[in-house]
Each structure stands twice: as C-alpha cells, then as structure tokens.
C-alpha cells in the first residue's frame, strides 16, 4: 500500500470507507508527523484519536483536521496566538469544528497563527513564527500560517483557518495549497475568537480543490448561535468541470496595474495561467473595479476599529493573563493588556481606537464604511459581465523571515489583492498556479455571493490544467 500521507483527504476518506486503511492508522500517521513538526506549525497536537468521532460510516470517515488556534475547542488550548490567552482551555467548541466532528473528522491539532489573526507572515504569533515548508528561511504567510504550512508539509490532511482580509488565501498561496474564503455568513462564527466581526469567515485550507469542496460542504449552515450566519442555498457540489467553456473571466486592471506592486515572477505566472484558462475555453477581458484600490485603506480602518472593540474583553477579569492584580482596577486592566498583547495587536488597537474616537469617527470609520459600499457595488456591476474576477492572490511569493517586520505599511500591502473581496463579503479561492524561483504562486478567483459550487468547479478545471505538484514540500 502507498503511504497514506500521499492521499488527499477525499482519497483517504474513500480508502477508509473501502476498508483499505483504518481511520486509526491514518490518524496515527499524521499524529506522529504533527508531533515531530519542525516548522512550529502546531501549538497543540492530540495524544490519540478521540473515540467519540471518526467512525468509518461518516462522510469524512475519520480523516482528521487541524484547526487554527483561534477556534475554541473544549478542554484544548485555544489561545489565538496570544500570550494574553496562554493556556486557555475553553468550556465549549466552535460550531464549525463541531460540525466537522459530527461529519466524522476528529481533531488532530491546533495550528499556530498571527496573534488574534493580525498579520500576513505569522511572525506576530506570541508562540514564535511558523516556517514555510518550501524554504525554512521564509514566512508561510498569515494569519492562518500554521494551518497552511501543516497542510503543505503533509503534517495534516487538511485544516481550517479564518480569513478577515486574506488570512486563508494569502498563506495558501505562499505555501502552494488551496484556500477558500466563503461568502460572509456561510459558516458560523460562533466560537471563533473574534478579530473583525463584519469580515471574519472560517474556511478550508486543503491540498486540492476537491478537498476544499468536501470540507466546506460540512462547515456551512445557519447557526442560531451566530445571528449573522445564513442558510446556504443548496448543497456544495463536488467539482467535476473539465473545461471553462463559456466562462467569462474579468481581470481588474485597477488591482493588477502598477499600484498592486506585483512581482515580475508572479505577473508572468499569472499571465501564463490566464493563457491556460483561455485554452480551456474561458474568455478573458479587462474589467473595472474603480474603488478596489482604496479597499486596503478602508480595511485598515474597519478591521482595527472592530478589533479595538472585540479585544476590549481581554482585561484580566474572566480568563487569561492578569498583571498587577494588587493595584487599582484600571492599572490592572492597562498593565495586563500592555504585557499580554504583542506589538502588532497594540498597533491595531491604537489605530482602531483612534478611528472611533470623538471627532474622528465620521472622517475615518464612517468614510471607510461608505467606501465599502462602493466596492461591493463595483463587484456587483462587474459580475453582470463576468462569471469570475481573477487576480494573483498575493503580489509576491513567500518572503524572508524579518523582511517586512519593521515596516507595518509594507506588510499591510500584502493584502492589496485579497481585501476587496473581504469587504464585499464574496467568496474567493486561491489555487497554486506554479512556481516562481522555486516558490509557490497563487491564482485567485472570486465569485458572487453563494456561488461557491460554481467557483470550485472553475478552480477544479484550472487546477487540472495547471497540474501543480506540491509533493516536494511533504518531506
């Protein structure tokens, strides 16, 4: 029998169903690899498979999942990459994790991330950076960097992450795997330690498009514990398209022009991928998203503003760290937060607090929410002419550890191509489209809200034509 690590999650589920391997064997194969992780991708690894889930007669047949640290998992450390929550073991489990458990996927481990999901390199984790399996001197992207590295390196069959402004798609791109950000509201946010509530969405990070569809199928659905979650219209279909005949792809020159700072190697790979799509029958035309270049600015007001409110709960009273508990109350709050939060989290709390403070609210937060309306309108009108909007996922390949740490603005520009879709609440997928200087490049496709099945189908056809081989990262 071939090594089970070489199977995709869907293939592994099939083999278990057919009795060729057992779920316990598969779990142990991955558990041993995750426990020997030299990428710092995991913050916690299970000792053994739980007995209560992973039965072979379930849809996911016992194929285990890795979950980003910020998903609350009952009795298991859930720290959102922050020292302020070090050792926190929540008394309940996030809805998407419970749903995947019910579908037969047990928990393999928790994955490292940028603190409170704020970052594009995973260097902002309170528990050390994650290394990119393609080159250990480079970042895996972020904020779901541990999930992306674990899947790319074959330390987990698949993983869940969250995407607020690119945090699933960008690390998927930098690690050479598939990452899907669903429509806002498709998956319940209950039990996700919040960053920016109007943007946060859970989604799959997987080895291929079929795995992404299979996992998403068992994540979606309305949850009475999250009133912004929605009943998804229909089921997520497993992809089967062999070509892109009749598909109209729009290339937004407002994003792919000079302002996006796209590296030459990424650009030439993007153009080669467009040619592949054309050969599969797609038509490719430039399109306009005139407000999209302003998305990053709007995002860096809206997300920090929401974060500054969400992170007010970390005050040393109910859980986590407490510092100077023998002083007065406000001193205890301020010292706990000063010691517990890392530099990027403090920066965003400060930015958000400033944007919401008296006298600045209309100029900053109010303006940003109007820009958001215009960006959503831009996408709506583009989708009258196009089935999908396509861009590179990230303007660059994986960069060296430390390269952008001293320049917050340069780090934020990593999200230039990913943030517009987040603000519009629409689904977008990144698939590996080849290598540039030996490092993976990602190709992003975005679709109208709730068009995940069509999006996955198109991504699947393109994936087959690209023929990306990620096996060299799974040593």
């Amino acid at each position: 029998m071939s090594d089970p690590i070489d199977l995709t999650a869907a293939q592994a589920a099939e083999r278990i169903g057919a009795g060729e391997i057992t779920a316990a064997e598969l779990f142990e194969a991955y558990r041993a690899r995750a426990a020997a992780d030299d990428l710092n991708a995991f913050t916690w690894v299970a000792d053994a498979a739980p007995e209560s889930n992973g039965r072979p007669d379930t849809p996911l047949a016992g194929v285990p999942i890795a979950a980003k640290d910020l998903f609350c998992t009952e009795g298991v450390p859930s720290q959102s990459g922050s020292k302020i929550l070090e050792g926190y073991r929540p008394p309940y489990t996030a809805t998407v994790v419970s749903k995947l458990h019910e579908a037969g996927a047990p928990l393999l481990g928790k994955t490292n991330q940028d603190e409170f999901a704020m970052g594009s390199s995973n260097e902002n984790s309170g528990f050390g950076p994650v290394l990119n399996p393609w080159d250990h001197g480079r970042v895996p992207g972020g904020s779901s960097g541990g999930s992306a590295a674990a899947v790319a390196a074959g330390l987990a069959p698949w993983a869940i992450g969250t995407d607020t402004g690119g945090s699933i798609r960008q690390p998927a791109s930098l690690c050479g795997i598939v990452g899907l950000k669903p429509t806002y509201g498709a998956c319940s946010r209950y039990g996700m330690i919040a960053f920016a509530s109007s943007l946060d969405q859970a989604g799959p990070l997987t080895r291929d498009v079929t795995d992404a569809a299979l996992m998403l199928r068992h994540m979606i659905g309305r949850d009475h514990l999250d009133s912004t979650s929605l009943e998804f219209p229909g089921e997520i279909a497993l992809p089967s398209a062999e070509d892109l005949k009749g598909i109209r792809l729009g290339v937004p020159e407002d994003l792919t022009g000079a302002e996006g700072g796209i590296e030459p190697g990424v650009r030439s790979n993007f153009e080669a991928t467009l040619e592949l799509a054309e050969r599969l029958g797609a038509s490719i035309e430039p399109c306009r998203l005139p407000h999209a270049p302003h998305a990053l600015s709007a995002y860096y007001l809206i997300a920090p503003a929401e974060a500054s409110a969400n992170l007010a709960r970390f005050d040393g009273v109910r859980y986590g760290l407490r510092v100077d508990g023998d002083k007065d109350l406000v001193t205890m709050y301020s010292r706990t937060r000063e010691v517990g939060f890392g530099p990027e989290v403090k920066r965003r709390i400060m930015l958000g607090t400033y944007a919401l403070s008296s006298g600045y609210y209309d100029a900053y937060y109010g303006t940003a929410q109007k820009v958001r309306t215009k960006i959503a309108e831009d996408f709506r009108s583009a989708f009258e002419q196009f089935d999908f909007i396509v861009t590179p996922t990230s303007p660059c390949v994986a960069f060296e550890l430390g390269a952008k740490l001293s320049d917050p603005l340069a780090m934020y520009l990593n999200d230039f191509l990913a943030v517009p879709m987040s603000l519009a609440g629409i689904p977008a997928i990144s698939i590996p489209s080849g290598l540039s200087d030996g490092l993976p490049v990602g190709f992003q496709l975005a679709a109208p809200a709730f068009n995940e099945s069509r999006l996955l189908d198109a991504a699947y056809a393109l994936e087959r034509a690209v023929g990306f081989d990620g096996s060299s990262a799974r040593v």
Partner: protein
C-alpha cells in the same frame, strides 16, 4: 503626524499602559499608516450609504426560550482570581 499627547490619550482610551519608547514608535508608525489611509477622504462619497452589513439580513429573531447556561464552576475555572462565586477584581479606588 500624531502628537505624543494624542498617542497617550488614545492609549488611555484603549487601556494600554504603553512604555515611553512605545509611545514614540507608535506615533511614527501610526502616522505613516494614517497618511496612506487619508487618501480615501479625497473620494466623492456624497449620498453613499455606509455598509452596515454586507449580506442583506433583516430582523433575525428566534423564540425566547430559556436554556441552561454553562455551570458557574466551569466558567470560573478559567478566571485568574475567582472570589466568592464570582470574578475577583481589584478595587477601583485602591491606590
């Protein structure tokens, strides 16, 4: 450019006891980010409604049926200083 005093004011609002070096660094970093962000204020947004929710959802209601909450001891197990069946906090007035 954000002034030193402005940074201190925002830090007080955010309940962050920033060190002196951090205040200086934050003033520079935030100013650079704000300079970039400022560009959106040049857009003509007259009459544009702000987005309150990106997917249209109206009146999300549920039946008002009481269900049990998590037990008190389970919740207090995570507290740094549980006290008399509650969360212990320092006195607001203590020096």
């Amino acid at each position: 450019m954000l002034e030193h005093e402005q940074v201190l004011h925002v830090a007080r609002l955010a309940r962050l006891d920033l060190g002196e070096g951090e205040v200086e660094r934050m003033a520079g970093e935030l100013s650079k980010v704000l300079d970039h962000i400022e560009k959106i204020r040049e857009l003509d947004l007259e009459g544009v409604p702000p987005t309150s929710h990106v997917i249209d959802v109206v009146n999300v209601l549920r039946a008002d049926e009481p269900t049990p909450s998590l037990p008190r001891d389970v919740i207090l197990a995570a507290a740094p200083e549980p006290l008399h069946d509650g969360f212990g906090v320092p006195s607001p007035g203590a020096a």
